[in-house]
């Protein structure tokens, strides 16, 4: 009986349910899409690694410290290792392989790098046949001799190359001109990397500079287990090697891919979270309105003996129907979304389509759980309200449902939460330690958000009175009616605006943060950088050939080199920390005005080392203390602390500086990593722009390098930060879609509720145009109300974040007024957009039907 009423009522209101349904579907689709995608990707990579890993891989002993360095020297195993292991019983074959990620491929025709520049690496190696190749040659032939190279087909296609195309290989040993002799295709999945192969001798000469391998891959004949094979091989090759079984290789590879997939996963779950949060408001609103409209009906149910629980239950059952329907559609929507993502991944080179979708039980379980929990939870408050409707309501004549007044308890709770959150934000802004400030900020953000949601209905009346004050003057009676309508049900207006508020608060907060970051960095560059040019080596560093090319440029006074040295630091009190050391050439102190807290800047090039203020405070260090650095392989060095850099400058915070010559005393020059960055200073009197051109020209052969002057460097920082903003904008876009649905929903229901009122207005002479304008203006007022709340919240968050991080380099506050104005205008546009359909429907309403008394 209960189910029957619920079902009937659900289908009677299917138009109204549709919008809530979209919200549920969107949220669930993101959850299920994320899971399907990551399951598929994981399964695909598992298959790939399982099919290509050797039984045992013999590699050089890796040094955790040293291998982290950019431009570190490649470690190898001697050629003789192959013989040692292939002679072992149970070994079918052993193959010496070379794979390095530091080589760069350049298309000489366009002078652009070939292969991915971020994310997956470009791997260059030797072409050898093994029992488990991941590639097979599909055109041309294997590389032979010093002039040939073989490329994977995806890379060839993306770079617009073909058989016979010329390629330049840039390695630490020099530049080599090669011709593509063959193209190979992945048998299973291309993980997104570019693969290039030379013949073994050429690979050894160009990539390693020595006759060796980077690993020896051992394939067993099946007579013993991989673990047994590994143990025997270990004895045969002796110490100084790392051996891994197939399972161990697989786990290591999966970890590498996993970190990239994890990013995608969390970004998508972020989308899901936002749409769930905003969708929740939509569901609450829909059910509140349904309950309000059915007050008489529910009163009748109670009058003829329905219990409070039954009424409550009937609303929840309706929510459950919505949830199941929404989750089901969302589940399938998610599979579609995953397919779209896979298609998208193949566009960036990761081909997952060969495997087919991997769905698994987790997907439906998660989808239904998320969909049902969120919907029923959101419907709970309206359901409880329905249960409290008295049987007397059936008898009362309700033209329109009772207009919910924001009550006092709500006001008190909202005020306490908001005030508490604001207090936390203020405390956070004044916190000494960024970590404490960060925690307070997080808590403050959550509290102010909840506080604003709770207090929203209260603010609605006051704020809309102010915001809407201009409407009657500008738009006459339509304006006045719109303003009054927006104020008549503050709770509804508040909930509708809350959806928009969340999205806008996020975007404003993020844009305050990023614009402060950009202006702080610019200001710090202006203040402390004396160098005119910067040459950034990217992820592979600068080879000696590049450095000498740059040095030969006329008009340069000097070049400053910087290397990142990995080291384990032991402090006087015995604590150890893995920390990088920036080794620089002496001119560094001329190029940068290091902010001195204690000691002297020149100390770092005179055999001393520097730390930043925060590090010194945390470990109670003072100038003159001795710090011990362990560079790995038994090389250690004790350095005197000669400089403590003042905090508040992101260019230097977190860096330990010392001289290259100082480190060279402990580590042989040949073992030092390549430079990561060069700074150039123009001679006084020369044309700086012309010198930049000359510098760029001298390094033209190396398109992987970034050669910029100060202005160009600032632009790069801005671009990097902007790419972060795009993610935030993506989130906002989704939040806005759901928020628009919310506004449409509210307006559509209001129009239905006010049928008689609209009929009356039309009867006494309100034209269709005026009526539509009235509804549009109401929508705009609600949207702007949400935008104003969101902007206020976002500004508070962003400003607090800047204050919290002011000691961490975010020294300058910058409010992006352009963005804020844009956001407010966009909200008005959203309001107009959302009102289109409800206004159209209201305009088409038959005057007579509208005023007909029941």
């Amino acid at each position: 009986m209960l189910l029957k009423t619920s079902l009937r009522s659900f289908f009677a209101h299917k138009g109204r349910m549709a919008l809530s349904l979209i919200a549920v579907v969107l949220s669930v689709a993101f959850v299920s899409g994320t899971l399907v995608f990551s399951n598929t990707a994981t399964a695909t990579f598992d298959r790939l690694f399982a099919s290509t890993a050797s039984d045992v891989s013999v590699g050089p002993h890796s040094d955790r410290t040293a291998d982290r360095q950019v431009g570190a020297k490649v470690r190898t195993v001697p050629v003789g290792t192959v013989q040692k292991v292939s002679a072992l019983p149970g070994v079918k074959s052993a193959v010496g392989e070379i794979f390095v990620s530091s080589a760069v491929l350049v298309d000489p025709a366009t002078n652009k790098t070939v292969g991915p520049t971020t994310g997956a690496p470009t791997l260059t190696g030797n072409w050898v046949e093994t029992p488990r190749d991941s590639l097979e040659i599909t055109s041309g032939h294997a590389p032979q001799g010093s002039g040939q190279i073989l490329l994977d087909s995806d890379t060839v296609k993306k770079a617009g190359l073909g058989l016979g195309s010329q390629l330049r290989l840039v390695t630490a040993t020099g530049n080599y001109d090669l011709e593509i002799s063959g193209i190979a295709t992945f048998k299973t999945t291309n993980p997104g990397a570019a693969l290039a192969f030379l013949d073994t001798q050429t690979a050894q000469r160009t990539l390693l500079g020595t006759a060796a391998y980077t690993s020896v891959e051992v394939f067993g004949d099946g007579s013993r287990s991989n673990d047994a094979l590994k143990a025997e091989a270990a004895t045969a090759v002796g110490t100084g090697f790392d051996l891994k079984t197939a399972a161990e290789q697989k786990a290591e590879n999966a970890k590498g891919v996993g970190s990239f997939l994890d990013f995608m996963k969390y970004a998508m779950l972020g989308f899901a979270g936002i749409s769930l949060l905003v969708g929740g408001f939509l569901i609450i609103n829909t059910f509140s309105m349904l309950v309000a409209q059915r007050t008489r009906e529910i009163g009748l149910m109670r009058a003829i003996g329905g219990s409070r629980g039954q009424v409550n239950g009937s609303v929840l059952v309706e929510a459950l129907i919505l949830a199941v329907l929404g989750s089901t559609l969302g589940l399938f929507g998610g599979i579609g979304l995953a397919m779209l993502l896979i298609r998208l991944m193949s566009a960036v080179g990761m081909n997952l389509t060969s495997a087919g979708l991997e769905i698994g039980a987790s997907v439906p379980i998660a989808s239904y759980t998320v969909g049902i929990v969120i919907t029923v939870l959101a419907a709970f408050i309206p359901a409880r309200r329905a249960g409290r409707i008295s049987p007397m309501s059936a008898l009362r004549d309700h033209g329109t449902p009772a207009e919910g007044k924001a009550n006092r308890i709500r006001a008190a709770v909202g005020l306490v939460l908001t005030a508490g959150g604001a207090a936390l934000l203020v405390t956070a802004a004044q916190a000494d330690k960024p970590a404490t400030g960060g925690a307070l900020l997080g808590l403050g953000v959550v509290l102010t958000l909840i506080g604003f949601v709770v207090i929203g209905p209260l603010l609605a009346t006051g704020l809309i009175r102010v915001l809407g004050a201009v409407l009657p003057a500008l738009f006459g009676p339509s304006g006045r009616l719109a303003q009054r309508n927006a104020m008549r049900n503050p709770r509804r207006t508040g909930a509708t605006a809350a959806a928009l508020m969340i999205g806008l608060a996020l975007v404003i907060g993020a844009s305050v943060f990023t614009s402060s970051y950009v202006s702080s960095t610019n200001e710090q560059i202006d203040r402390s950088v004396g160098a005119d040019y910067i040459v950034d080596g990217g992820r592979n560093g600068l080879t000696p050939a590049m450095v000498s090319a740059a040095k030969s440029v006329k008009g340069l006074d000097h070049l400053t080199e910087q290397k990142e040295i990995a080291a384990t630091l032991t402090l006087p009190d015995g604590t150890r920390s893995d920390t990088g050391l920036s080794a620089v050439s002496p001119a560094f102190v001329d190029d940068f005005r290091l902010p001195v807290k204690a000691g002297s800047a020149t100390a770092i090039t005179g055999g001393g080392v520097s730390v930043d203020e925060a590090f010194a405070t945390a470990h109670h260090l003072s100038v003159g203390d001795r710090l011990t650095f362990d560079y790995g392989q038994g090389r250690t060095q004790s350095l005197e602390l000669g400089l403590i850099t003042a905090k508040g400058n992101s260019l230097f915070d977190g860096n330990l500086f010392t001289g290259i010559d100082t480190v060279a005393k402990a580590v042989p020059a040949a073992e030092l990593p390549q430079d990561v960055v060069l700074f150039g200073k123009a001679e006084s009197g020369v044309d700086k722009a012309r010198t930049l051109d000359a510098l760029q020209e001298s390094l033209k052969a190396y398109p992987q390098l970034t050669v910029k002057d100060q202005a160009g460097y600032k632009k790069i920082i801005q671009d990097q930060i902007n790419s972060l903003l795009y993610l935030v904008y993506g989130l906002l876009g989704l939040a806005i879609v759901v928020a628009i649905l919310g506004v449409v929903n509210t307006l559509a229901l209001s129009v239905v509720e006010r049928t008689r009122e609209i009929g009356l207005l039309r009867a006494i002479g309100l034209s269709r145009r005026q009526l539509r304008r009235m509804i549009r203006l109401e929508s705009v007022v609600i949207a702007i109300f949400g935008a104003v709340l969101g902007t206020g919240l976002g500004l508070a968050w962003g400003i607090t974040a800047q204050r919290v991080l002011s000691g961490k380099g975010l020294s300058t506050l910058s409010i992006p007024t352009g963005t804020i104005v844009g956001v407010l205008l966009a909200s008005a546009a959203i309001g107009l957009l959302a009102a289109l359909l409800p206004a159209f429907r209201a305009g088409r309403m038959n005057v007579l039907a509208a005023i007909a008394t029941d």
Partner: protein
């Protein structure tokens, strides 16, 4: 049918020489088609005299409300012609009809006459606001004084009694000085005392302000306030009565009921 036409044309009355405030000729209104066709009005001819109070009576389903809706331009007719003043409204577009209702017609409905978001005064001046006209201050004061609402102007409809709400509705209808006011059972929801109050105001607005009023009602007492009563049955004007009293109307209605059931 002929009775009605003859009644209108053969009985010249005081004030009938003036052009009628509204007129209908051969107005037919039908719903549906074929077997399910229902004729709500069947070739009705009627003239509404200017400056008079006309009541339209009839049992449920007689077509009295439909006639009023058609006369007021709220509903379209299947055939026939209707004039408000010298404007023919049959065939007008929605925009023109809306303007006509706004500028020339006042309405009083049985219930839900007022916008809950506006106070009494704002409700009264709403039609002029919509039209973008300034209310005539002196006239407005006079109307407000006539309906006795001077101290209630800032109240919202929910703060007013049912009778007060209807009086606000009357004031709204009068304030814009329409050529004609249509009332659809304006006292249908009121107790007899409040109803009498409202009807007195309507009567006075005709007598003192020279207003033209057409009122649909099924209450003989309400009809007795009118100058003239038209009786409708099955979509046809079957009779009319001048200077009615409650008793004479009730008696006529009873006779008419008997005639119908016989």
């Amino acid at each position: 049918m002929t009775t009605a036409a003859t009644a209108v044309h053969n009985a010249p009355l005081p004030g009938a020489q003036a052009a009628p405030a509204a007129a209908a000729r051969q107005v037919t209104k039908a719903y549906g088609a074929g077997e399910t066709r229902v004729t709500a009005l069947d070739s009705v001819d009627v003239d509404i005299q200017s400056g008079r109070f006309t009541a339209i009576m009839g049992p449920s389903g007689s077509g009295k409300s439909t006639l009023m809706h058609c006369l007021a331009g709220l509903d379209t007719v299947s055939s026939g012609r209707i004039w408000i003043g010298d404007t023919e409204i049959t065939g007008l577009k929605d925009r023109q009809l809306t303007r006509l209702r706004r500028d020339k017609i006042g309405f009083i409905f049985q219930a839900f006459n007022l916008l809950p978001t506006l106070n009494a005064l704002e409700n009264i001046t709403l039609p002029m606001d919509i039209a973008g006209r300034k209310p005539d201050r002196a006239w407005l004061d006079q109307v407000v004084a006539t309906v006795g609402l001077a101290d209630r102007l800032k109240h919202r409809p929910t703060q007013l009694s049912g009778g007060q709400q209807q009086r606000v509705a009357v004031a709204r209808a009068l304030a814009a000085r329409p050529e004609i006011i249509f009332g659809d059972e304006p006292t249908g929801n009121l107790d007899s005392r409040s109803g009498a109050e409202v009807l007195t105001f309507l009567r006075r607005s005709v007598d003192e302000l020279g207003q033209t009023i057409v009122m649909v009602t099924h209450d003989p007492v309400a009809a007795s306030y009118a100058d003239r009563v038209l009786f409708l049955a099955d979509g046809v004007i079957v009779d009319e009565m001048h200077a009615p009293t409650a008793d004479s109307v009730l008696e006529r209605m009873r006779r008419f009921d008997g005639k119908r059931t016989s």
